[in-house]
């Protein structure tokens, strides 16, 4: 792509500044290398797409950005539990990438990455390859089926959906719930933290229970949690289950999954053996495939260690990791993914300009959960860089709603509309 560039970056800027007019030449925007170089971003989810937009905005277009994403559409995980409850459909959560590409001049390759050569600074895809000055890897999560080998097959995942990446898996689980007769048992297993979206499983319990209460009141929701207790918004969820769904939800902590029999939909845990009519195993998780492929994880720990000022990998220079793949000790949420993406974007723009990034970034996270079709509650925190510890830590004053409310239900939908517009336009 840059073969016809005859000047190096610095010379090009000098000439551009001296003459001014050279930059009006279409060749600048067509074939030549932009003055600050190229960032390739692998993954077009919340983190990757946000980083692409903000690098373009904050570099005033002086950094070329190419996103590599295999899907042609963006499907939101946030709000996807409402599809299970029945108040949203998957088509309410599915969006095009067209606007964000056009509005910000982001180059886009709908393709699958097969290898990353970090020595040669090159991304190899099924249909081409790309050189980069800096690489951002934003691959989300992958499922860790090591302990659950009989769930690895595609067919097994159709019978026992995870529905933990929004799309046809979500639709599949909703259909199974619709087809289940009244009096049936829905069983959900929750892996040990960390996993994507800490309150997500508990919100899902509310959504399925809400559907049962309205349509199939003799049915049960049995929750087998590998964790010792509800790990997010605990008091609020326990209250919702007790008050709204007292004869439907049965929560069993310290109940880590041991094995699954696909044909009979039976799960064996450390403490129980339960047969389900509809079974939803949320599998244990690890950094996304691309992070594994690029050797951005240590052999004994499945998440990526980064520098929280730049999100540059601690293992490979010039490669940044953002979103759910990062090991931060903080919630793996969509809002966190976008916040990390902007710290990373801001730092990359400054580094490529030869300047220093912000030495003490601060950002916010707000996460809403719905307890039925209308009422929601939040957990919100500001996170601040702790220089001695070199990690992001929660600032004082964060917390959860006093109670779930219809007002917060309105806020939660506004959150979704705003984060979608921010990421995708």
């Amino acid at each position: 792509m840059n073969k016809n560039t005859t000047m190096n970056r610095r010379d090009f800027i000098k000439v551009g500044a001296a003459t001014g007019v050279l930059l009006a030449n279409p060749a600048f925007s067509m074939g030549r290398k932009p003055p600050l170089g190229r960032v390739v971003i692998v993954g077009g989810g919340y983190a990757g797409t946000t980083a692409a937009k903000y690098i373009r905005m904050w570099s005033l277009g002086a950094v070329e950005v190419v996103v590599v994403e295999k899907s042609s559409q963006f499907v939101s995980c946030p709000m996807s539990n409402l599809v299970l409850g029945g108040s949203k459909t998957i088509d309410d959560l599915t969006f095009s990438y067209d606007l964000v590409q056009k509005n910000h001049g982001i180059k886009w390759a709908q393709d699958e990455v097969t290898a990353i050569n970090t020595q040669a600074k090159k991304v190899i895809m099924k249909r081409g390859e790309l050189n980069y000055d800096r690489l951002i890897v934003a691959p989300g999560i992958d499922f860790n089926y090591e302990a659950l080998p009989n769930l690895m097959a595609e067919d097994a995942q159709q019978q026992i959906p995870h529905a933990w990446k929004a799309g046809w898996q979500t639709v599949n689980l909703r259909k199974q719930l619709e087809q289940m007769p009244d009096g049936g048992v829905f069983v959900m297993t929750i892996p040990k933290a960390p996993y994507r979206c800490p309150p997500g499983p508990y919100e899902r319990v509310c959504q399925v229970a809400s559907y049962f209460k309205a349509q199939k009141p003799a049915s049960k929701v049995i929750v087998l949690d590998a964790n010792a207790e509800v790990i997010s918004k605990k008091g609020l969820f326990l209250k919702a289950w007790a008050e709204l769904y007292p004869n439907i939800v049965e929560y069993r902590p310290n109940n880590a999954l041991v094995s699954v029999d696909v044909a009979t939909k039976t799960v064996v845990t450390e403490a129980d053996k339960v047969k389900a009519d509809v079974l939803n195993v949320i599998p244990p998780q690890k950094a996304g495939r691309i992070a594994q492929l690029a050797n951005l994880v240590e052999p004994d720990y499945p998440w990526c260690e980064v520098d929280f000022l730049t999100y540059e990998s601690k293992i490979i220079p010039n490669v940044h990791v953002i979103g759910d793949s990062v090991s931060s000790g903080l919630p793996k949420s969509a809002h966190m993914a976008t916040s990390q993406a902007r710290v990373c974007a801001s730092a990359i723009v400054e580094l490529m300009k030869g300047q220093s990034p912000d030495p003490a970034p601060v950002f916010a996270n707000t996460c809403y959960s719905f307890i039925d079709d209308k009422h929601a509650m939040h957990v919100a925190n500001v996170y601040r860089y702790d220089a001695p510890k070199k990690i992001m830590v929660p600032a004082e004053g964060g917390g959860v709603s006093a109670k779930a409310s219809a007002q917060e239900g309105v806020y939660a939908l506004a959150w979704a509309q705003n984060i979608w517009a921010d990421v995708l336009t």
Partner: protein, 138 residues
């Protein structure tokens, strides 16, 4: 030395009106961003951007059915912003969510955010249209 020169040249480049059409930026963007070399400006732009999940890009919130007009921060008066946020911070102003954010920010950061959002143009924001999920998606 080389970096300094590069910085200066870059700023000249940004200030040059010739590149505006190519980079599809407004004059305001160029002026605001060309000055963004200080740490406090870098700090403010990332912090302000993290408000976007509820308040939109540069404070231009999607307000849907008018219920959410208060969410628009672009062009907001500096004093009003600071008064409200300090009220959320010390608990004198009632809040649903904002106290959990305001309490985590310093007064300097609240002032930085006020300045940042007051300078943003209220352009409105597009309510994104969803579409049908394609069969080949995961």
């Amino acid at each position: 030395m080389q970096h300094n020169t590069l910085q200066k040249i870059f700023i000249v480049l940004l200030a040059s009106s010739v590149i505006w059409p190519l980079l599809a930026q407004t004059a305001e963007d160029v002026v605001v961003s060309a000055a963004q070399t200080s740490n406090s400006d870098l700090h403010a732009r990332v912090l302000a951007a993290s408000c976007a999940a509820c308040h939109g890009t540069n404070g231009n919130a999607v307000t849907g059915s008018n219920e959410n007009r208060n969410a628009i921060l672009a062009g907001r008066d500096v004093t009003e912003f600071i008064t409200k946020m300090l009220g959320f911070k010390d608990g004198s102003r009632e809040a649903t969510v904002m106290h959990h954010h305001a309490k985590g920010l310093t007064e300097v950061e609240i002032r930085q955010l006020a300045e940042y959002f007051s300078k943003q143009k209220p352009t409105g924001a597009l309510l994104l249209k969803p579409q049908t999920l394609k069969a080949h998606h995961e």
